[in-house]
Symmetry: C2
Subunit: 463 residues, 2 copies
């Protein structure tokens, strides 16, 4: 148990306590080098996981708590509850008002924030290392002892309706929601994380409180931290904070498993169009991709990089550099527990949509048939490897990776393993995944000020 190791000076008292308290189990998942990049994981009694990575060269720490809940855990009437709850957890505990929570991190120049996704929710802070105890105390307090006061829940409803309105005003973002909905249909994964005006107006304090009690059990939480830190000290402070809230009493509880499953998406040739009086049309052309456990994800990621991952990618060159048809054009992959999406985004004037879509379809067909050249493969794997290494310098990115890996895979990949996976992808691997994924009819989501004629041509663009 880490506690006994940390306090050798008072053996009798410490050992007496240690004997009475259930053991925490700590493992070193990745050894690191010279004290940097060491990843340790402790499972506390109560099933709470704490995963940290040391970056001794910085003076900051990024600390986060991840909840194993996202919008895909919502029923249709609860749509938006995960995100609503995320907002409300900032609004006060027995020990702190909403202002106390904000001021605590503000006054040390720290960042305190949160985000909600389809499969998880994360609350995080970035602070100077000396302020880490404060960040741990505040975030643990928010997650274990939130009051969900009715008046605060009601005031926050207005904020969330404003957030929905703001997102509606950002079609370059909203078109991805529309694409997910178009391909995934009215399923939990197809619904928007923010919910809709109707569902948010219908969410009561009681419903949100039930959702909180159900999903914020310690077995469903993962604590992560990266930066200049001491693992044992982080564990001790997190344990003390959760103990104070009586949250670790079910000492035999085990951490929950990552989501599993496999789902075959049969979507092909679907079209979703939203009419908006914007200047640009925003389109996503894409197909079902692969789940995040699918071994083909490495090859698909290389493919996506070569197709639309940088300024030298095919789509950037063909659509922007050669023809000046768009400012922003890129491809991306999203992997969920049981399925995935592959998409190409472009923003362009409505009268250029057909040209842009024709080029995208042509490139999809070319890659599905021929794959990538050896030179494209070399460049794409170099790009992925270099940007992965550059990403290691940001404790926030490391903390994010720890949390996502623990939630999604229940394990951590080392940098070397990741680089090996990326650089082992062959021309044949890419050709195979390209044929399997891209060789079908794509679906299309589009937001813009389309004429009736333009709208009907969108239907035929994926015929």
């Amino acid at each position: 148990m880490t506690r006994t190791v940390r306090r050798p000076a008072r053996p009798s008292l410490t050992e007496g306590r240690a004997a009475a308290r259930p053991r925490a189990l700590t493992r070193t998942l990745l050894p690191g080098e010279n004290g940097a990049g060491t990843v340790r994981k402790t499972v506390l009694p109560g099933g709470l996981r704490v995963v940290t990575e040391t970056v001794p060269s910085v003076r900051s720490v990024s600390f986060g708590i991840w909840a194993h809940v996202g919008s895909r855990d919502e029923t249709p009437t609860l749509n938006g509850a995960t995100h609503y709850l995320e907002h409300v957890l900032f609004k006060g505990t027995s020990r702190r008002t909403a202002l106390d929570i904000s001021a605590a991190l503000d006054e040390v120049g720290g960042e305190l924030n949160a985000f909600t996704a389809k499969e998880f929710t994360c609350y995080y802070a970035r602070v100077l290392d000396s302020d880490l105890p404060l960040a741990i105390d505040v975030i643990c307090d928010m997650l274990t002892d939130s009051l969900l006061l009715p008046e605060e829940v009601d005031a926050e409803r207005g904020v969330i309706l404003e957030e929905i309105a703001m997102t509606d005003d950002d079609p370059g973002d909203g078109v991805h929601d529309l694409f997910a909905q178009t391909v995934l249909g009215d399923s939990p994964l197809g619904r928007p994380v923010l919910g809709t005006v109707e569902t948010v107006e219908g969410l009561t304090r009681d419903r949100i409180a039930r959702f909180y009690r159900k999903h914020y059990d310690p077995t469903r939480l993962v604590v992560t931290a990266a930066g200049n830190l001491d693992h044992a000290s982080v564990v001790r402070r997190v344990r003390a904070a959760f103990d104070r809230a009586g949250a670790l009493e079910r000492t035999d509880a085990e951490p929950c498993e990552p989501r599993g499953g496999a789902r075959t998406l049969r979507a092909a040739g679907r079209v979703g169009v939203l009419d908006r009086r914007t200047e640009q049309a925003h389109v996503v052309l894409g197909l079902p991709g692969v789940s995040r456990s699918d071994e083909r994800r490495w090859a698909l990621s290389v493919l996506s990089t070569a197709l639309g991952g940088g300024m030298s990618s095919r789509l950037f060159q063909e659509i922007r550099e050669k023809r000046g048809l768009a400012y922003s054009v890129y491809s991306y992959t999203s992997g969920y527990a049981d399925c995935g999406l592959f998409g190409i985004y472009a923003g362009c004037r409505p009268n250029q949509v057909q040209d842009v879509l024709a080029i995208c379809r042509e490139q999809l067909a070319l890659i599905a048939e021929e794959g990538l050249s050896a030179e494209e493969l070399r460049r794409a794997t170099g790009q992925l490897a270099g940007s992965t290494m550059l990403g290691l310098e940001d404790p926030g990115a490391l903390m994010h990776r720890l949390g996502k890996s623990e939630i999604c895979w229940g394990s951590q990949l080392s940098l070397d393993e990741m680089l090996t996976r990326m650089t082992s992808v062959t021309v044949d691997d890419v050709r195979q995944v390209a044929g399997e994924i891209l060789g079908h009819r794509p679906s299309l989501a589009a937001i813009g000020p389309f004429t009736a004629r333009q709208s009907s041509r969108l239907e035929t663009a994926v015929a």
Copy 2:
């Protein structure tokens, strides 16, 4: 001269060359500690400045070249030329096509980008330290030997028109342009960085080429780098790249001075409204602020932090936390060479604009009259100091600070000096600047789907 120091093994050859070449002058501007945070500046013959900062704990470098030119250097018909040129410099040199430029940095996972502001332009890359020679070579090549091929200039026009359309679709961003225009009028500083559809359509290859020759003289450029680097080696490589283009031949040329001047803005009670079919209304309420050399900027920055700089700030608490009227609300200051702006942004549904503006005006009046409490001052200075220290860990942010400081002030402040300036601000300093700046009628910019009645009420909101 740094070159002789770097090559002691071949004294006769090196000294022979050194004697024939004009001297570069190198100074240590900030000593740093243990090799970290050391800022050195070299002025090369030809008037080119190179400023670097060492961050030995990282494995990356951020490298940039800053041009002392922005949209305020444009005549009305040239509006957008600075930004257009920034795009075209990516489109090819005698040694590299546009694809070569992109692929060079992509294939090592580096980031290559640029931005144009009202008073400067910056081209930058972030790479692993071993790829710094490549980044230097590519960016120096782009800046000294761009071909500005007519067909590339024409293709890029479409991209820029798309960028303008994209910005038009982002009212939360565009309202800041509208506010500057409302307060600064049809002056160089009031015009948009991107230009307008009309001016961009009218910009010819020849005009852009003249603009390039005039403003990209080495005396008007500043090279900056921060990360794991050796100053002398950066200087040597930059010098070699500029020498290859024959760009350092005017050996007696001196670096240009920072812009100066002082201008009193008399704008008060002006209103700019743009009708857009958006969900939210986006408003900026504000006043003339202070120039970036005005000593009151430290106090104004503390004031802005307390008013709308974080989750515990007055505006966030009053508008979002207590009343749920907005998702995004904040205040900010912009400092230019000769004047400045102070503004409050909020995004909310159109029917709540009057409530939001009333609270903003009330808080402006309260602070103008009473200043801040000692507790607010303590919190705001702590926030500024903490976030400044956290910012030091990002080589990109350090590179940015080096360039902006050299362009705007011609000098560098140490972290300690900055912290001292921030934490020395007193309640009296804030009260004085608050009275001088905020005690006037504000102006207003608003974008949204306003009814005729709502529009006319906007006029009275700043009466």
